[in-house]
């Protein structure tokens, strides 16, 4: 195979990608082949060293998130097939997508409702504590010392409890907000890769953890552990 044949075949196999990406890929492989030929290889040898155009295209498409990859690979076989699958499959994928979104939304609401409960308990404790303090002043007005002491004690204890519960509610809300941000990242990961953050690209550890899942999972668990402490 000549260099031009190789590049043309590669370009055809990547036709599902944006034009600038195809051009960039062609330039990279044109450079690699030219460099090998400069190093003394024949054109045939240099092209053979790249592997088949199919393998090269596969390596590029494999680096994409799951959903665009599936679309690109189907489209590579035939654009008609892609649309036939999208339309005929719509009762399945549309229903699944809606169900997925609905479940995610209800879980999300339930979790926030839980946090709201803690806030309500804190507010109730605070309100009762304040009423007890108000009753203390009433006790002072009629001069009933044991009643004043009892109400003052109850009021302070309740307000203390309200402050503690409020602090807990604040921490819980913050954690939920943080975890839901991670969930959003995870939920969109099949469609779009975050190259800079934890969402994808480089693994945090050089020895593994595919950034997309491992990193986010680890974060969630550490944070959940921290929250439960």
């Amino acid at each position: 195979m000549t260099k031009d044949e190789f590049l043309d075949r590669l370009g055809n196999l990547l036709a599902c990608l944006p034009a600038d990406q195809i051009e960039e890929t062609r330039q990279f492989y044109a450079e690699a082949i030219a460099d090998r030929m400069e190093d003394g290889m024949s054109e045939q040898q240099a092209v053979a060293a790249m592997g088949t155009p199919g393998e090269v295209a596969e390596a590029i498409l494999d680096d994409m998130p799951a959903v665009p990859r599936a679309i690109a690979k189907t489209r590579r076989r035939s654009t008609v097939l892609l649309w036939v699958l999208v339309i005929l499959g719509s009762p399945v994928w549309l229903a699944l997508l809606i169900a997925f979104a609905a479940v995610a939304l209800s879980v999300y609401i339930c979790i926030w409702a839980l946090a709201l409960c803690v806030w309500v308990v804190a507010a109730a404790l605070g309100a009762v504590g304040l009423s007890a303090l108000a009753l203390t002043t009433a006790g002072i007005a009629i001069g009933n010392v044991p009643y004043v002491l009892a109400m003052l004690g109850c009021g302070l204890a309740l307000i203390g409890a309200a402050l503690l519960t409020g602090a807990a509610a604040w921490v819980i809300s913050k954690q939920i907000a943080r975890i839901s941000a991670l969930w959003v990242k995870k939920a969109i990961s099949p469609f779009w890769k975050d190259r800079n953050g934890n969402g994808g690209g480089l693994p945090t550890s050089p020895f593994g953890t595919d950034g997309t899942d491992g990193g986010a999972d680890m974060d969630t668990t550490t944070r959940l552990a921290a929250a439960s402490n």
Binding site: F28, Y29, E31, A32, G51, P206
Partner: protein, 103 residues
Amino acid sequence: MEAQMKRGFLEACVLAAVSGEESYGYQIVKDVPASMGLTESTLYPLLKRLEKAGCITARTAEHNGRLRKYYRITDTGRARIGEFLAEWPSVQEIYAYVEGAQS
């Protein structure tokens, strides 16, 4: 070599290959130890990933009447190499444990 581990090693190797003077595709393929089995089809997505993550920068320059892309490491990339090297003691510990369990 296990795939995930190889990925980490490859990234470190490519970063190391552009950490001195700037380098280009074929030079990187030649520089990286042969045991990694690095080829252009692996290198290309890897370079793009590293560039997007801000670990390397690229510039295009003319060479023998054609264009060639040169890559150079950034501070982020150096930090990444530092992280890789910092893992070594724990790798040694694991190696010693696995080796010790054989005797």
